[in-house]
């Protein structure tokens, strides 16, 4: 019996890892069916680095990668380079780092929670936390597509784990600093969270860290960490480094005033009713609270249509009561020691990167919150189990819990595999692969114009066609390379062999024999008839709506009639 109790947490961990592998790897390159714009961007940048040592804009080994109107953290893209050399530029390869690091986070949370939990309950809190993370819709979402946050999150948690291990073996403090530094480089939100967590840990354990045995390793770790951060720090003052943060920051009023701003109210009244300190404080606090709100966690989920699975939020609904019970126990029960400290600290700082940006509930920027919130749900489950007194009821509790896990897995299948593919195809930029394969069959001597009125599809076309990066770099110019991090201008027109991406201009475009590609708004049935276009192909979304149209112009039929 004692042996069972001893090894049960490890058995649950093993099951969790298996579930994580299934939920992350099942049809990884096929579901979601296509790469959305940022995924294709990451994939093509890595492909370009692999083939030429430069990104698609011709910059050698960038510190942060230019993409569209902002810059992307480099770790994920550099991780992709060897994978693309092995698997080729495929959807599977581009999503692989997310999946791998998402799975690796499962044992990591187990060992971290076990390390910092009270010994009597540590194994169970750790294993149930790992199990809940393995089936978490939030973590699975970011583990099944190309998102830098998943990789950065692993290194952040790794840094925390190594820090706690480092309190026993100071050499590990150096590795902790390395892991923290990689996390900071890995994703924008970690630029705030990781240093904050490092400061909190330092303050809490300053007596140990500043003691003779530890201080040299602490200093060495700080130096190594700074060395890793050096490339990023070298461009820290450029607009490119801060492009994302300044664009979304609720405290920058260049783009938009805070919500509640009353237009037309000027003078003394305007000073009162449009007080920016008041409006921004209110927005910040509202955003901050929203990340802890059960309504967002269990019902609404992310506001971005692409960023959640249909009929699922960040957590399963059945976890809501356990969240409340767990929160109560976490606050009241001081016996939880370091686990309580870590969970509360991360719960408090976790929403900060997201709460300073405009979106109401951005799950990507708040992903670090998944740890404290899952630990809280776990504490709630264990507290509820302990509350049950009779043995038979305890058995019933466990059986119901197992049933809930099975139900959750079925729910994931329903949402991820069935509903997401049907309802979210548009948000996942469905259709470009089919467009690209049709392009290959068209007359190569005729030019092709791809409309950019509502999208910037050049990157999906480049990736789908596996277009030679060297040729693309030669044929296109974005900004002078010495202004790569500073000049945020972008060129609208892109040339990909005989393909040009730009807005369709009907008058001149129908006078030339060429192919036109656009969505059903750009090329409507009325325009096909009016401009006497030949329909080559309609590409459909799974729900039957037209995603894209490929047509051929017929200049001879559009000649002006003689008076």
């Amino acid at each position: 019996m004692n042996n069972i109790k001893r090894y049960l947490p490890y058995l649950i961990l093993f099951i969790s890892i298996i579930l994580a592998i299934i939920t992350r790897f099942y049809k990884l390159g096929e579901i979601p069916k296509e790469l959305y714009i940022d995924e294709a961007g990451h994939g093509y940048s890595a492909y370009s680095i692999l083939k030429t040592g430069k990104d698609e804009f011709g910059k050698s080994f960038p510190i942060v990668f230019r993409q569209f109107t902002d810059f992307k953290a480099p770790i994920y893209i550099y991780l992709l380079v060897p994978l693309i050399s092995i698997f080729g530029p495929t959807s599977f390869a581009v999503r692989l780092p997310s999946s791998i690091f998402s799975i690796l986070t499962i044992p990591l949370i187990f060992f971290l929670v076990k390390k910092i939990s009270p010994k009597t309950e540590g194994g169970y809190i750790a294993s149930i936390s790992a199990l809940l993370l393995a089936i978490s819709p939030w973590h699975i979402f970011y583990g099944r597509a190309t998102f830098e946050c998943t990789v950065a999150l692993f290194f952040f948690l790794g840094g925390v784990f190594l820090f706690f291990k480092g309190l026993e073996n100071p050499k590990l403090l150096i590795l902790s600093a390395v892991s923290f530094a990689i996390a900071i480089t890995g994703y924008n939100a970690q630029r705030l969270i990781t240093p904050l967590m490092a400061i909190i840990l330092f303050i809490k354990y300053r007596k140990v860290l500043l003691s003779k045995t530890y201080i040299k390793f602490l200093l060495l770790g700080t130096l190594v960490g700074l060395a890793i951060l050096l490339p990023s720090l070298s461009i820290a003052l450029t607009p490119g480094f801060w492009a994302r943060a300044t664009g979304l920051n609720i405290f920058s009023f260049n783009k938009a005033f805070p919500p509640g701003y009353m237009n037309g109210k000027t003078g003394f009244l305007g000073l009162i009713v449009n007080n920016l300190t008041f409006l921004s404080s209110k927005e910040f606090l509202s955003l901050y609270i929203s990340y802890l709100s059960p309504r967002n966690m269990f019902v609404l989920g992310d506001y971005n249509s692409r960023s959640f699975f249909p009929e699922l939020s960040t957590f399963f609904l059945w976890q809501a009561p356990f969240y409340l019970i767990g929160l109560y126990h976490l606050i009241k029960n001081k016996g939880l020691g370091e686990l309580r400290f870590f969970t509360l600290a991360l719960l408090i700082i976790g929403p900060l990167p997201a709460a300073v940006t405009r979106d109401p509930y951005s799950t990507i920027r708040a992903l670090q919150l998944i740890f404290p919130q899952i630990i809280i749900v776990t504490i709630g489950i264990i507290a509820a189990y302990r509350f049950v007194q009779k043995r038979i009821l305890k058995i019933a509790f466990v059986l119901i819990f197992i049933l809930l896990i099975i139900y959750s897995l079925a729910k994931l299948f329903s949402s991820v595999v069935i509903l997401n593919e049907y309802y979210k195809a548009e948000y996942w930029n469905y259709g470009w692969e089919e467009v690209a394969s049709t392009i290959k069959t068209l007359n190569p001597n005729l030019p092709i114009v791809v409309d950019t009125a509502r999208e910037w599809p050049y990157i999906q076309i480049l990736f789908s066609l596996k277009f030679d990066p060297a040729t693309y770099q030669k044929e296109n110019f974005e900004v002078p390379l010495n202004e790569y991090y500073t000049n945020l201008n972008r060129q609208e027109v892109k040339k990909i062999g005989n393909i040009i991406t730009r807005k369709i201009q009907w008058k001149p475009d129908i006078k030339k024999e060429q192919y036109l590609i656009g969505d059903s708004l750009a090329i409507s049935q009325q325009q096909i008839e009016e401009h006497k276009l030949t329909l080559i192909k309609d590409v459909y979304y799974p729900d039957g709506r037209i995603a894209y149209r490929i047509v051929k112009t017929n200049p001879q039929l559009n000649l002006p009639s003689e008076p």
Binding site: M262, V273, L285, R358, A410
Partner: protein
């Protein structure tokens, strides 16, 4: 000085919701939403005086607002559960059922159980996407039409953003007036109040009224403005929190109070401006 400041903060905090509801509605409508709250408040006053008939005013609420027809039963049941004294309230429970029967017809048409053609069609369409009917039925069934609405309501009604920020500032809710109910910094008092609720002398009344009202309102297709009745249990918690806050011996209390008062005044001017200027 400290107690005067405390009273001022309590007054400012509690004033916002009635003030904004009054500004945003006609006098007749305002009165309609106010009556259930008055009855519940009488109930509370009797409760504080340990009057054994304190539940009676709450039981007659549905005569004035049929949308809350289910509230008396839930209130009496929850209170008897909280106090673990079911037998004592059995007559009141029976009486509540009679009230429900009287208010049933006007109540029924306003609930989440009224027929929703679009939601049903959505379920039918979703069923066709699944590889087999058995799996489809687990996740796509007509019961979901009601449970989804109930869950959505219950989480909206328990969301702090609803009471302190009119949901999220950028969130547009068509069926909701999105009124500012409490000054947003007042959320600190609410959280402190919840933390110390266990020690509050009003604990049983707050829990019973809040839980029963939340469930009653969640059964409505639109709870907006009818949720004004929640002013009482939430305000009692906020008052508890404010008192506990002022018990802290810290200069921060005064600093926070000044910021709080300035922000409340700005919010009140904003609300008045929005409706009248």
């Amino acid at each position: 000085m400290k107690s005067k400041l405390e009273n001022l903060l309590i007054a400012l905090t509690l004033f916002s919701w009635p003030f904004n509801l009054f500004l945003a509605n006609t006098k007749t409508d305002f009165l309609r939403y106010l009556i259930p709250l008055i009855l519940l408040s009488i109930s509370y006053l009797l409760y504080t005086r340990k009057n054994k008939f304190f539940l009676l005013p709450a039981i007659i609420v549905p005569f004035f607002e049929p949308k809350l027809a289910i509230f008396p039963i839930l209130f009496v049941l929850t209170y008897s559960l909280v106090t673990k004294n079911f037998k004592k309230y059995i007559i009141l429970i029976i009486l509540s059922f009679v009230v429900l029967a009287v208010a049933w017809r006007p109540f029924k048409g306003q609930t989440i159980f009224s027929y929703d053609y679009q939601a049903r069609q959505q379920v039918l369409r979703n069923i066709t996407l699944y590889p087999n009917v058995a799996l489809a039925r687990v996740f796509q069934n007509k019961a979901r039409v009601y449970t989804d609405k109930f869950i959505s309501n219950i989480f909206a009604l328990t969301d702090p953003n609803n009471y302190f920020f009119a949901f999220h500032p950028r969130e547009i809710i068509v069926t909701n007036q999105n009124l500012y109910k409490y000054p947003f910094l007042g959320i600190i008092f609410l959280l402190i109040g919840i933390y110390f609720l266990e020690k509050s002398s009003n604990k049983n009344f707050i829990i019973a009224s809040f839980v029963s009202l939340i469930i009653s309102l969640s059964l409505l297709s639109t709870f907006d403005r009818n949720d004004f009745v929640l002013w009482l249990p939430i305000s009692l918690t906020v008052v508890e929190g404010t008192k506990r806050f002022f018990a802290f011996k810290n200069k921060f209390v005064y600093l926070f109070s000044i910021i709080f008062i300035v922000f409340v005044l700005i919010q009140l001017v904003r609300n008045y401006t929005a409706f009248h200027i």
